[in-house]
Symmetry: C2
Subunit: 460 residues, 2 copies
């Protein structure tokens, strides 16, 4: 945190000057996004929604994309973020494993999300947009957009899932403090919202529905839409995390055997592991590093879903995207890791999981909070419920290493802090935490609808 021009100048070099784009290193093209008619999406189709520069980045085959100085100047107010060795956690586990965490919770909104929010709002402003729209679950993404909006004087309209809007008012207050307009979703502002409200006036909402509303609002009004995950350019903006981590872990004369992160859409995990993937493919990796994606058992897209074309949202307004999905009609249980309540995951990540280049595991909410408490009591930092999934996986890997007597190195992404999720920890401490997961039958039904959806579009 001292490491930058607006802090102490001598650390500025540590913050990357370019983002890493994985597309040229995937060893083959990504399956195209498809329009409802089954035809591939063209860049200009996306320019209805996104800043042109972001659409260019989405399809770019350049490996390194320069970070605009205006964006990097903002990064420098909290970057480089800490890479910390969790010595006390290691001691508590009596493991020979070395556990490091890259801590993104030091950003003003408290998560990794501003890494891309600042970039997206900057490009929107540069292309003349006076307003951006977006969705948010627990509020991590929405508060990052509100923060970015306040920096570039761009109005932010945030559609927030109603369940979070009602249960977690503090991130709403944070967004309003930064000048954003926060709308509980489903709302009566959009056709999509009105449709879901007519079905259920007390609809708790979902990330998929909120995406539908934010997109509809942007298309109607000409505002620019900003997205918190899934698409290539979003994940690419997050690579500042991994690029810093590559430098930092070498200061410890170490290198990871495992790079572990939680996955909702996949942006924080991709931001951390892409640069290590690049080194691995380029033969620069010092070890045969493995990549482990961790998802909630309540929304098991990678571990129980299918790798197929599906909509990115619930109302079906987005292109069809080939990804691991449990079906866009699936309603995720109200787990506290709101950022992981998403039916699909990023197409780049899905491709790598389908090839076995990235492993996936799922954990239940209860065991995740148990690991989070262990981490908080030994390392002091309270993990966001999302990030706690990575902690749980790291603890399991460390205990396995103990059984096998292997001194492996584990790097996890502590993508955010949980100071605005203490209500959830209170439920955990009081033994009042719900822990609902879907049945195989329930998932099968949603996946059958996905097959129905894509039948006849001539896609696989």
């Amino acid at each position: 945190m001292v490491g930058c021009a607006r802090r102490a100048p001598q650390y500025e070099w540590m913050v990357p000057r370019a983002w890493y784009n994985i597309l040229p290193d995937l060893g083959g093209a990504l399956p195209p996004y498809l329009r409802p008619d089954g035809e591939p999406v063209r860049p200009r189709d996306l320019e209805v929604l996104f800043a042109r520069e972001l659409v260019r980045q989405e399809f770019s085959q350049e490996r390194w994309i320069p970070i605009p100085s205006e964006v990097r100047e903002i990064y420098l107010t909290w970057r480089p973020t800490p890479l910390v060795r969790a010595r006390r956690l290691e001691e508590a586990l009596r493991t020979p494993a070395r556990i490091y965490y890259k801590y993104e919770g030091v950003s003003p909104p408290g998560s990794h999300k501003p890494n891309t929010a600042v970039a997206q709002v900057y490009y929107a402003a540069r292309e003349g947009a006076g307003r951006v729209t977006t969705e948010t679950g627990a509020g991590q993404w929405g508060s990052a957009v509100a923060f970015a909006g306040s920096l570039f004087r761009v109005k932010a309209t945030v559609y927030m899932t109603r369940s979070s809007y009602l249960q977690k008012p503090y991130r709403r207050v944070l967004m309003e403090l930064w000048g954003a307009e926060v709308v509980p979703s489903p709302s009566d502002r959009t056709e999509a919202g009105r449709k879901f409200l007519s079905e259920d006036p007390n609809h708790p909402g979902s990330l998929g529905i909120a995406i539908s509303e934010a997109i509809e609002d942007a298309v109607r009004s000409g505002a620019r839409y900003v997205l918190g995950s899934v698409l290539n350019f979003v994940l690419m903006h997050q690579t500042v995390i991994g690029l810093e981590a590559l430098e930092q872990i070498r200061y410890f004369d170490d290198y990871p055997d495992y790079v572990v992160g939680c996955v909702g859409g996949g942006s924080s995990f991709s931001g951390l592991f892409w640069p290590f993937y690049y080194e691995k493919r380029a033969g620069k990796a010092e070890r045969d590093v493995k990549f482990i994606a961790v998802e909630p058992a309540a929304v098991p897209s990678m571990t129980m879903g299918e790798y197929t074309y599906d909509f990115g949202d619930t109302a079906g307004l987005t292109p069809l995207i080939k990804m691991y999905t449990v079906g866009h009609t699936y309603k995720p249980p109200p787990i506290h890791a709101g950022g992981l309540r998403y039916h699909g995951c990023a197409p780049t990540l899905s491709l790598l999981v389908s090839r076995g280049e990235v492993g996936a595991v799922a954990y239940r909410q209860g065991e995740v909070f148990e690991a989070a408490r262990l981490f908080a009591q030994h390392e002091g930092i309270v993990p966001a419920p999302e990030s706690a999934h990575a902690v749980k996986a790291a603890v399991d890997i460390a205990l396995e290493a103990k059984r096998e007597g292997r001194p492996v190195t584990i790097l996890i992404n502590m993508s955010g802090h949980g100071l605005l999720d203490l209500q959830a920890y209170d439920e955990y401490l009081r033994g009042a935490l719900a822990d609902v997961v879907p049945t195989a039958e329930e998932l099968a039904a949603h996946l059958a609808r996905v097959r129905e959806l894509i039948r006849g579009k001539g896609v696989r």
Copy 2:
């Protein structure tokens, strides 16, 4: 935040290896603490409560006191903390002034408090204590002690003012997550608590009452008492803030004309300004730096109180301390800056204020939150309500500099973040913020009682 051994080794040097003790530089002895009979307190009187090493530090005339490696190792997990130039705030104010803030909110508990909590709990553990007791208002101090307790495996019992316990449950959850026992004060666990409860079963509590309970508990049980402010050793532990700031601001080729901080007991402000005071007295200061203490108009000890002997707590269990006070019987209004709801202030700070070496100003809650919103919208960081007092003073100095066309440099202590105070910001945004301040008559009545108290003890 990258700056340490457990982060990236090359920044470790920036974290001090010794605390700065102002006592030898005060140009005269501090008025002694007095026992109820008017006799000076001897070190062994304090050893009933505090770890012996802390009592030694309290009376030490050594200018530099080494930081134990076990304590420094913990500091290194979040120190050095950022020194940030608030460029966007400067631009918003259109001021020629340069405004820097030293940001202590990056510590796990989110404030400067662990700088001394870690040291005090370490010494207590080293001297064999299995439990520590303390008090907390809004919870900043209590959560720092809970954090330190979890690191050294020492049980922490925290007496929390009932109003905060009920209105601000999240810091309680944070303390419990770290393994502390949190007791709403006044409680039925102590004679002091029972006395106040008998007067008012719904007594909102006060910092002074909570101190009385924590002290009584410690004396009865043999646990060690840890204190969040006021005493010399507490303020000395905070000098890591100012010692880092001295190094950091020189990286900007700058030096402060004004060092500004909020004052409850005075520890965060003293931690920042003492090292600059040392340079000024030693003739090393690059400018004629001024020190500005900022207090809430709701508890105006320095601006409307008297410099006289008074108890440090409400029940009268502490020694008599010569300090600026509004009277230990005064009940502070329930302002959100719970850490500033204290009737007195540190004896070292009081001495310097009485000599005119430190200036004091007071602000009302409403104008303080207005300044905090301005800061949040331009700098992104949400100030703790306590720290926001320093922001308000800095804004006023910067606007005066604008009128006078003077490019002065202002350094403020951003002693903590306000992410657990968003309820207060919500009240502010909704225009529902109370703004109560005492009348001169009200204060005169309490001060008369103080004069009554010390009459006949042969003290002045």
